[in-house]
């Protein structure tokens, strides 16, 4: 089994270990395919569709590359999106400040423009119970 890259657990009655890790599974697949190619016509694995195994391995690798590229793409867009949101928030703040300073615009009217206006008490005085 070692010639094919398989790990056999001797203490567990010869249980064959198939890697759970994606990279190790890829490596095992390559070793099996290489051994099969090296053995040629005498390969023990001629009963299997090894071309299909190779095709599946190639497809998996392509999916990994596509996944990596797509992840990179959306992360770049996310950065642009955050910048745009920051700029929009700044614009909205400027608009809100101007509207607040304008004596012709009652603060309550800002709500029709999407602002939430809250009033607060600037006094530090507090009442205490007797």
């Amino acid at each position: 089994m070692g010639l094919y890259g398989y790990e056999v657990i001797h203490s567990s009655n010869g249980i064959i270990k198939i890697p759970g890790n994606n990279v190790l599974l890829d490596e095992l697949c390559v070793i099996v395919l290489d051994k099969h190619a090296a053995d040629g016509a005498n390969s023990l694995l001629n009963v299997f569709d090894m071309v299909r195994l190779q095709a599946n391995l190639d497809a998996k690798r392509q999916a990994e590359l596509d996944e990596e590229q797509a992840s990179l793409d959306w992360r770049l867009v996310a950065i642009e999106k955050r910048k745009e949101l920051k700029a929009l928030t700044k614009m909205m703040n400027l608009i809100g400040k101007e509207m607040l300073k304008n004596p012709n615009i009652p603060p309550r009217d800002l709500e029709t423009w999407g602002f939430i206006v809250t009033e607060y008490n600037q006094s530090n005085n507090t009442d205490t119970a007797a």
Partner: protein, 99 residues
Amino acid sequence: MEVLSHLGRKVLSTETQLKKLNSAILATDVANSPLPWGLVTGIDFTDKHANYLGLKATHIQGKQLAQMHTQHKYAYVKVIRKELQDIAQYIKVNKLTFY
């Protein structure tokens, strides 16, 4: 969340408020009725907001595309694992000294 304050009042802005402001500006005839501010024009804001919405949509689509490729990858991993298990079983059965 950012807070604006002036004369004892606060203005809170979030993404929802950005959307509301954008709708309010779009509902206003900017050409005939100049908006009551000078630092940022309504068109500046609505253009930027439209660009933001476009980026947001692209962002969501990009994430979905990445997830689709991830699912493809795991589907192939599952098939490959099964094939390797079958091969291992075959070698084990057909070779007496399999390890």
